[in-house]
Every structure is written in C-alpha cells, then in structure tokens.
C-alpha cells in the first residue's frame, strides 16, 4: 500500500478550485433531486450523496496513485472493462429496452460508465507507446481498434450515446498528441462517407430519435415527447425560473427521465436562464481547470491523461445539455455530477481523481 502514501508536497498541489466546482455541482444535484421526490421514498438525493461518498473515496485513491502507474496498468483495466461490457449481455438487467446494468446485490453497476475511464487510460497508453512513435498515421491506426471493439459492444447494449462519446474523446487525445489536423480531417470525411452504413446498423428507435431531432413534431406523443416536454420545461423557466413549487413540468412528471438524463431541464425550469448561466459557469470553471492542468503538465503522459479526463467530462456536458435543449438528437448520456446514477458519479469523480493526480505530480 505504498502507492497510497501521500506526502505533504503532493497535498500542497491539490487543485481546490476544481474540487470546489465539483462539490457545488454535486450539491446542486442533491438539491434538485430532493425537490423532485422521485424514486423509492424520494431517496434519490440521499443515494446520490452516498454515491458521491463512494466516488470521493475513489477520487482520493486515484489521485494518490501516480497516473503513470495507472497508464502502465491501462491494458489490464481496459480488458477488465471489456469483460464488464461483455458481462452485461450475460448478467445484464434490461431497463427500458437496454441492457446496460449489472445487478450486484442492492447495487446496479453500469460498466459502460466505468469503461470510459479505462478507455482514456488505454488510449493514452497506446498513443504514448513505443509502437505509436512517431505520432502520425500509425498512431491513429493503432487507436482505432481500441475504440471500435468497445463501441460495437456498447452499441449492442444498446447505448448509442456512450459509444459515440468515445470518438470525440479519442480525437481530442490525438489532436493533443500532435497528430496533423489534415489527417484527422481526412478521417472525419471518411466517417461522414460511412454514415449511411452506420444508419443500417442503428436500431429503429435510434433512427427514430435522429428523425425526431430533425423534426420534433414527427411523433409528439412518442419519441418526440421528451424533446418537446424538455423544451417546454426549459423555456417556461424564463429568465428567473419558476421556483421549486412552480416547476410543474418536473414536479408533475411531464418530463421523462427528469432525474437522470434530463435533469438539466428540471434545473432550467426551476431556476431560469440566470440559474442555467451559474450552472454552466461551474462546469466551465471545472473544465478550464482541467485544460489548465493539461496545458501545464510537463510530460506527454500527464498532459494526455489530463486532456482525456477533461475532454471526457466536456463531451458529456456539451452533448447532454445540447440534447436537452434541443440542439442535438436525444442520446442517453448523463450530465456529469448532476444526473442521478452511481456508476456515472463514480466515473466522473475518478476522472477528477486523474486530473488531481496529474496536477499534484506536476512539479515532481
């Protein structure tokens, strides 16, 4: 357990503003969940805080380990993660048509959430590996299988959002590693060309969601219901919000998934445009700290780990809020630190742990 020994020098470099922003977001989440009164005896807020406790321990553990050792062990985490994704097909519990959870006693774990962290570490391991040098076509080629295999597994679960998220995170890592933008642009074009093929792979409900995004009135009582109700909730919040009691869209359950993927709509209805600004500023602060850690890292592994963790959070925030406010199609991606869900909370806090780990060892 020497790994866990934390010396004074490390503690001095803890990024307190980062933790403060994260703490504020978790608190906001708990308050929002408490007002929603969902779940068993309205215990969602308490469970969320409990998960925060568990996640915070994970954060401390991750932060206290040298990230370079974590990256070195990345293949093992990655394979474990793949095994978890595979296990879902055998042990998984089906919730609303998707097998994403493994139930273990009173807990249900969503392997795809935790896999994101393993994925970031694995991507960094591959990019910085001997075989990937010099950074260029070879690097890109080597990273493709590590994104393709899990993406396929996750799509089959089906969890389109998480699968799609892996790509921007990988692209950001490759950009950060110095891959020429022209090369990535070419890949992007190839991706667009392959999009019709992807359409064939998609399930009917996933296609429907994309069509609904393009035309929300396609099926107002079916797939478009979420989008319409979320827009009504957010818009009706107006400048200052309707307050807890007045937030009828959320309180009277017109908003589906209001404690998980659509929690931002609840917040927006309750606190209005001004509240949304404050919340987004919290995320911006958190992410800017992450980018600062990446920028000020002194060696490539630390920089890429920090960049990967930050982009993981940034991508989720942007896609989630974007979909809730109607800018993107509805894909199942939680809002980090806000949405109710233990696995996601754990994954987000572990990402923050990675950031702290890099920060604390920045001056070694």
């Amino acid at each position: 357990m020497t790994m866990l020994r934390i010396d004074r020098r490390l503690l001095e470099n803890v990024d307190w503003p980062l933790l403060a922003a994260a703490g504020a977001l978790v608190l906001t989440s708990a308050v929002t969940l408490a007002n929603l009164n969902v779940g068993r005896a309205g215990g969602a807020a308490a469970r969320q805080l409990a998960w925060f406790g568990v996640g915070f321990v994970a954060l401390v553990v991750v932060a206290s380990i040298d990230y370079r050792r974590l990256v070195r062990a990345a293949p093992a985490f990655y394979l474990l993660g793949l095994a978890g994704l595979g296990a879902v097909f055998v042990l998984g519990r089906t919730v609303s048509g998707a097998r994403r959870w493994i139930v273990w006693g009173p807990l249900s774990v969503q392997p795809s959430e935790l896999f994101k962290i393993a994925f970031v570490l694995m991507a960094v391991w591959v990019i910085t590996s001997r075989w990937a040098q010099p950074v260029g076509r070879t690097t890109v080629a080597l990273t493709l299988p590590i994104v393709a295999v899990p993406a396929l597994l996750i799509v089959k679960q089906p969890d389109l959002g998480t699968a799609l998220m892996l790509f921007p995170v990988l692209v950001i890592l490759l950009i950060g590693a110095g891959v020429r933008l022209r090369l990535l642009g070419g890949l992007a074009l190839a991706g667009v060309a392959a999009a019709p093929l992807a359409w064939l792979v998609l399930r009917d409900y996933q296609r429907e969601r994309i069509l609904v995004f393009l035309d929300p009135l396609r099926d107002p009582l079916g797939s478009a219901y979420n989008v319409i109700q979320a827009k009504i909730a957010i818009g009706s919040g107006q400048l200052l919000g309707k307050g807890v009691a007045g937030a009828t869209q959320s309180r009277l359950a017109f908003l589906p998934e209001r404690h998980t993927d659509f929690i931002f709509a609840v917040f927006a209805e309750t606190w209005g445009f001004v509240g949304c600004l404050v919340l987004l500023v919290c995320y911006v602060l958190l992410l800017l700290r992450g980018f600062d850690i990446a920028a000020s890292a002194r060696e490539p592994v630390g920089r890429l780990v920090a960049l990967g963790a930050t982009s993981l959070l940034a991508t989720q925030v942007l896609i989630n809020v974007g979909m809730v406010i109607g800018l993107l199609p509805v894909v199942g991606i939680p809002l980090p630190l806000m949405s109710y869900g233990g696995s996601a909370m754990l994954a987000s806090l572990m990402a923050l742990g990675l950031l702290l780990s890099v920060r604390m060892r920045q001056f070694q």
Partner: protein
Amino acid sequence: MRARRERPLSALSGRRPGPPRRDQGQRRVVAIAGVVMAAFLVLVGQLWYLQVLEGGRFLDASDKNRIRVRPIAAPRGILFDRRGVPLVDNRPAFTLSLIPRELPREPVSRDAVLGRVASLLGLPFQELLDAVARVQPESLFPVRVRRGLTLEDVAKIEEWKLELPGVIAEVEPQRVYPASRFAAHLLGYVREASEEQLRSGRYRRGDIVGQSGLERLLDQYLRGKDGGERIEVDAMGRPVRLVQQTEPRAGAQVVTTVDRRIQEAAERAMDGRAGAVVVMDPRNGDVLAMVSTPAFEIDRFTGTIDRAAWLRIVQDPSFPLLNRAVQSQYAPGSVFKIVVAAAGLQEGTLTPADRVNCTGEFRLGNMTFRNWREDGGSVDLYRAIAESCNIFFYQAGLRIGGATMARYARAFGFGAPTGIDLGGEKPGLVPQPRRGRRNPWPAGETVNMSIGQGALLVTPMQVARFMSAVANGGVLWRPRLVQRVERPGQGVVWSDAGEVNGHVALAPVVWAFLRQALWGVVNDGGTGGGARIPGLDVAGKTGTAQTVAKSKASLGQDHAWFAGFAPGKDPEVVVVVLVERGGTGGQVAAPIARKILNAIFLERVARAGFPG
C-alpha cells in the same frame, strides 16, 4: 512537412523550459479549450432563445400541460305542476365531449386522436372532424359530440384517456319524463341547437335547446349556466390539485298551471284515439291539462337523435308533432249552437218558448239540410239544445242572421288566437260578410253556420275558453300555462298573473238559461248522457262535425266534440274533448269527458256515492 512529422515526441515532452513560449502541445490544449468554450456559448445562446425570447410561449404550453378543464354541465330547470309535482326531471347521463384547447394542436396528431375515438365508439370520423372544425382551437368550452354514451363507451374512453387528450366522457344532466309520451306537446321536446339557432348567436354547438312547447317558450329561463373546474394533473392525467372551480347554475324552476293527475287522466282517457283534450279552470283560465294525440315519444329527443329516427317522426302521416289543441282547426259542430242560442236570446230574436217540429230534413230553396234524426217531435229551445235538434237551429239561425251569429262568435273569442304561450297557435275562422255582393250572407251559409258547420273553424283551446266564459258568466280568460318562474336565490323572475282579454255581456237570465240547457244535455235525456256522473252536476254540449270523406273507410267518421263543465253550480273545471273522425260527440267524446271528470272529482263523487 517531414520534419514536423518527426517532431511530435518533442512536442509532447513539454520539457522545454521557459514559461512564455508555449510548445505545440500547449497550443493545442488551449485551442481545444477554446473550441469547448465556444460550444458553451452556443448552449447559452440556445438557452437565451428558449428561456428569454420564447419563454412566454413555453410557459403557456406548460400551463396547458398541467391544467385540465372539466366542464360541469348545469341541469336544465325543472317544470312543476300546480301542486309542486315535477312534470319533467333530470338524470345524469354521459356525453362525449371534446375540449378544443386540450386536443393536440397539430392536425395530424389531432386527427389521430379523433380517429381513435371514432373507432373506439363506432362513430363516424367525419362527425368528429366537423365538430371541432367549427370551434375556436383554443376554446375551453366543451363541444358535446354525442349524448347517451353507454357505460362501456365511458369505460373505453377512461381506459384510453392518456392517448385521448381533450376527449372526455362528461356527466351531463338529461331530461327524464314520467312516461314516454307524457305531456309531449305541452312540455315540448329539447334537442341540440339547430343550424338556424346557432346562427342566432345565443347557443353553442351541441347545446340542448327547447324546441317546442314550454321548453321553447321558457328556454332562456330553463337553461342553466355551465360551471367548470380547472384541475392540475400530473403527466399520467391524475388530478393533483383543484386550481379553480365555478359552480354550475341550474336553470330556473317553472311552476305551471297543469295538474299532473288530470293530465295523466286525460291522456289515459283518450286511449289511443287521435284528437285533443283541454281542461281549464273557468275561474282564471288556468290550463289544467292539455293533451294532443297521437303524441310523439318525447324522450327520444333527449340524446343524440339520428336522422332516420327524426325523419320517421316528422314524416309520420298521423302528424304526432302537431299540437291539435291549438294548432288544428275543426268545425265546432253542434257545440256552436250555444253561441246561436246566446245570440238569439240576447238579441230577442229567439225565446225559450219557440217551438219547432224536429223532423228529418229542412228545405231552403232548392237546398235540403238534414237533421241527425227523423223523429224529434215538437221541441222548444231547451229540448232543442238538449237533443241538439238541427231543424230548430236552422230556423233560428235564419232569424238571427249570419252577421249577428258571427258577431257573437267573435265575442266568444272565435276567429282570433287565444294568446296561449305556445307557438304556432291557429286563429280559427269566423266567416266574414262577402264584400261587393248584394247579399253578404247567403242563406245557405247562415243555415250551415247555425249548426257549426260550413266555413266556421275553431281550435279545442278556443272552445275551452268559450265554454269557460259560459261557465263563469262571460269572462274570456287568456289561457294560462305558466304561473311563475323562480330562480334559486333570486326568487320569482317571471310571472303571469292571468289576463282577461274579452268579456261577453249577456243578460243574467240568458246565462242561467244556457247553463240550465247544458245541464239538460247531460242530465235530462240529452245527447251528452255519456258524460253524466251521479252526484256531480256535469253540464256540456256534444258536437259532431261533419267531415269530407277522404276515403270510403273514413266515410261518416265525423269529428266528435264534447265541451262541458262541472259542477253545474259554481263550475270549477271545463273539459273539452275532440276526437278526430271518432264518430258522434255523444257516443265517443262525452264518455271520455266523463272519465276525465271522474278522475278530477273522484273524492267528491265517492263521497256522494257513499253518504256518511
């Protein structure tokens, strides 16, 4: 290019000292951060658009989401008889209603909802489309599409209610009658507002409106004002909280002059024959009963009546919608002889002592007028009335003259509407002198008029008013159907104190003689013996109005009249019975009058029959 490609590891290294100079890796991180921040600005822009620019619209949409409007239909006012017994009542019934504001706004999804309703309840889709096409899309008022839903229909709507926004099974009070054909013409039927009534602007589509009888006359009072509730519901449509409630205001209560027992007795007494009965209080003109047969099934109209059923009633050859008591005109027949006798006695052209040999026929020039029997013997005025001797009245009529008879007929209220509060009343007809002719009153017409035939036409209601005047000594009351209209909490909002609209001035001895003669018709071997009730002095006059035979089967089937009052001294009721093509007044109409009088005076007759 090549050099840059080999550089990346150094770019990643970041080990280059000196903070001011950023290496490529740092620049890229900063650029990525910039792109992410730009994306956040896009989010803020969209939030500004949704919450600040379009916020009001979405606030409205969220209210529309959570607030459900549930109408509470006001019960229509109740009509009571003179003793406070209801003539018509309400019972709760289910109505399919659409709330326009709660229906989906987009035509495609709205049609999907209407289509589902149509298939669930087996209704024509077009009917639902038409119903919503004519109302404001944001209207909160229910459009009542179909009445009389079965419990199964209601269950289906409730079961599918989440898929049927804006569709409700509403509880709406509906008319219920003591019997299917009870007082149909008096009460009148209610029905959904017609296109014409909708154009008047006073009604909304699907409103129940009184279409005939008292329901139409008093519609503005009988109609209540619907109330409603605004309920906050959750996404499952479960009510959470009552936001606002407006109590419905029931329609006003109407106290009529009708006596339900007498009305029912009169309907029973007609026993399927076509005709009319009017029972009137001669002391004030109150209509105690008014029957017209055949009657229509008044309860068929309360729900949504389909076109075929409606046409069946309208096209029925026996005209069940016609109120024969006020809308049909008949020759009065011998009932008119009372007018002739009154005119003659008052004018001095006739005396009770005049005698005529009542033979089989009467010749005037080349015309022959027949009597209804051959062997009447010598009769005076009293016996001529009692036995209804035509020959006597032919001669009397010629002596009195057509103009005088017409003047007395008008004085007794014939030839003009009675002014009863029912639509479509016919005025009857009293012959006018022929203008520009040397002889304005041809003798033949005068002879015909003297026995109530010819051009003369009266309604049963006119006969009742006339007979009331005979019974009360000459006062012509406007027939009164409604005493007052009361609104709960407001008291009397409309009342009818009764009105005298004519007076016939005859010498008291003339009145006395006429009443004596009418008593004789029933009780002294006259034609009205069928109306005789031991213990009760019934007075009256029979009449048999000849009709033009339309076919061989109806040949000789004359309209049978009986008009009388009781008790003979201080009369309390006037009964007029008309049976269309029923036969003679004495054989057909008088017994019906007896049954009605029997029912009215049941207690008194029983006491007289069993003294002590």
